[in-house]
């Protein structure tokens, strides 16, 4: 079955420092062999702690950072490097992005109307049509056009600005919208409003979302499928409900058990995961999670576990789940204590 969006082997190493010959001294393996798929009209959530490569993945998809390798298939069209593929740049007509910082992502010297109309105008839409589109979109994101078209970003609140950013992203009629921590900077009540708005827009325009966040609750609330990233790699993916209810990877289990409990008696007394993520400049050998993994065995430090199909749409990269990997006896993961709630 062909997926609507399919990303395969996306990779980006950032060189750090160069020696006299112009060769990089070290590289940060920011995104390594990331593959995932998303279905039309659905939401794919991407979670992970900061520095795990979530945002880099988003920027690679938009070609804001040029990927070292990778292939993106959207609706049968293949984008990527190579002669028979379209350049990733062309995905920009079909994919748009909303950034976390609502203030920095709007030009302070342009009115709201000018900011939204910018995209259509560079795609050849006439000035008046672009302005009409801006008015229409403002209305759709819940901002009265007459009140807002001539305002400047600093005159708006964070939630209003993020609505403008959403309108701006929709202005060139994308099929996919990447929401890179789009609601993370908003307070909870505004967050809920914006999430509802996003759900409405998705239904109205038939959009597909890539929802990137560190907030597990929000991701569970909005996503159909979820992928979990750790140090630039996908460690687990699957349908949101089954992944949250029954995590297969020890890292996912640890993340979920780190969710604050709602009931006082369920409060945890110690951190589920010790230490910080290792430095991506020199990631650990084998499974990148093994130094922090309570279930690690010798094989985990030797071989990198491939992302393996568990059936029912679930994939995991863990030796414990792979037959014949050399792992002794799979142990049950500590079940997440708190049932995650909707925001």
């Amino acid at each position: 079955m062909a997926h609507f969006l399919e990303v395969e082997g996306l990779q980006k190493y950032f060189p750090i420092g160069k020696n006299l010959l112009g060769r990089p001294k070290q590289v940060v393996k920011a995104v390594e062999q990331v593959s995932f798929a998303a279905e039309r009209g659905k939401t794919l959530g991407i979670v992970g702690e900061s520095g795990c490569g979530k945002s880099t993945t988003a920027r690679l998809l938009m070609d804001l950072i040029s990927p070292d390798a990778g292939r993106i298939t959207l609706d049968g069209e293949t984008y990527g490097k190579g002669r028979d593929r379209k350049p990733i740049r062309e995905l920009r007509k079909r994919m748009q992005m909303v950034f976390q910082d609502s203030y920095a992502s709007l030009n302070a010297r342009l009115t709201i109307e000018e900011s939204i109309a910018f995209g259509p105008k560079i795609h050849g839409v006439s000035e008046s049509a672009a302005r009409a589109k801006a008015r229409d979109l403002l209305d759709r994101v819940g901002l009265a056009p007459d009140n807002f078209i001539r305002r400047y970003p600093h005159e708006l609140s964070g939630g209003q600005r993020q609505r403008v950013n959403i309108a701006r992203a929709l202005a060139i009629d994308p099929e996919i919208v990447i929401l890179d921590e789009a609601v993370s900077a908003l307070d909870k009540s505004v967050q809920a409003q914006v999430l509802n708005l996003l759900a409405d827009l998705k239904a109205d325009y038939g959009l597909t979302y890539l929802f990137i966040s560190h907030d597990l609750n929000v991701v569970q609330y909005v996503s159909d499928t979820v992928i979990v990233m750790y140090l630039g790699q996908v460690v687990e993916s699957g349908p949101a409900h089954s992944l949250y209810a029954n995590p297969a990877h020890p890292y996912t289990a640890a993340l979920l058990s780190a969710l604050p409990a709602l009931h006082p008696e369920d409060r945890k007394t110690h951190a589920p995961l010790e230490g910080d993520p290792p430095n991506p400049i020199s990631p650990p050998s084998g499974c990148r999670f093994h130094p922090r993994c309570p279930y690690a065995e010798a094989v985990c430090g030797e071989k990198m576990p491939p992302l393996t199909d568990l059936g029912a749409g679930r994939h995991v990269a863990c030796h414990m789940r792979i037959e014949g990997s050399g792992y002794s006896e799979p142990r049950p993961l500590a079940a997440p204590t708190a049932t995650p709630t909707t925001p």
Binding site: K93, R109, I122, R168
Partner: protein
Amino acid sequence: MQNVKSPSPTPPKSADGGKLATQSRGYWATVWRSLRRDPLSIVCATVLVGLVLIAVFAPLLAPHSPAESTMVNRLLPIGSAGYILGTDELGRDMLTRLMYGGRMSLVMGILPVVIAFVIGTSLGLMAGFFGGWVNTVVMRTTDVFFAFPAVLLAIAISGALGPGLGNSMLALTLVFIPPIARVAESVTTRVRMLDFVDAARASGAHSVTIIRIHVVNNVMGTVFIYATSLVSVCMILAAGLSFLGLGVKPPTPEWGLMLNTLRQSIYVQPWVSVLPGLMIFITSLCFNLLSDGLRGAMDLKR
């Protein structure tokens, strides 16, 4: 000079939600409103406009001819009959010569900065936006100019090209391109990192369009403020070049040159001798204070 689009000409619709719409105004209107409330800036701007008007209309306003000299009336003190501000070492009316001198001094102070502003900002924008080897080439070249003190550089270029008005203006322009380019480069580098540039790029715009619509108007303000503060430096440098005989030639009235020739009479008529210097001082002070006021007014978030 500023590349900011004026808001759409349609008036705000007051019928529904006019309360919000009327509060919104263009960027420059906001700056002007804030500047208007700053008395110091208004005084400085008035003085500068006055000086420019006096310089432009000098032939109509001046009581004498700038070249008319009477050796009998040499070095009259301030307040002499017929010569309110006295006379210089050749018996020419000081008031007249100060008025005419303003023409040359203001042109030499402003024009090089304006040209350097255009060239320097373009270089800085390019270097800052494209980064990489473009940045290296442009910025390392400007660094070469930074190796010399501004005065020395102006004198060296002016001296090498030979004395003359055009050459000294050229020298001053070259002196001011590197600092303006450097400021423009650093602001551009900062702006380029902001998400709205990425958002514009993500919507499929080309670099030139992004620079034109999204970068220029965010860089221009800071560079503009910096350039206005350079006008005073430029006037002083221009006066210095004239003082050394590299700029304007006598008998053309120019403040720096007048200061030079009156220097020998400082023990005879100290107050008259000091007048051209006082004019340079007032003008450059006003430019500096005005640029300071602009800096405050252009800060949107205040």
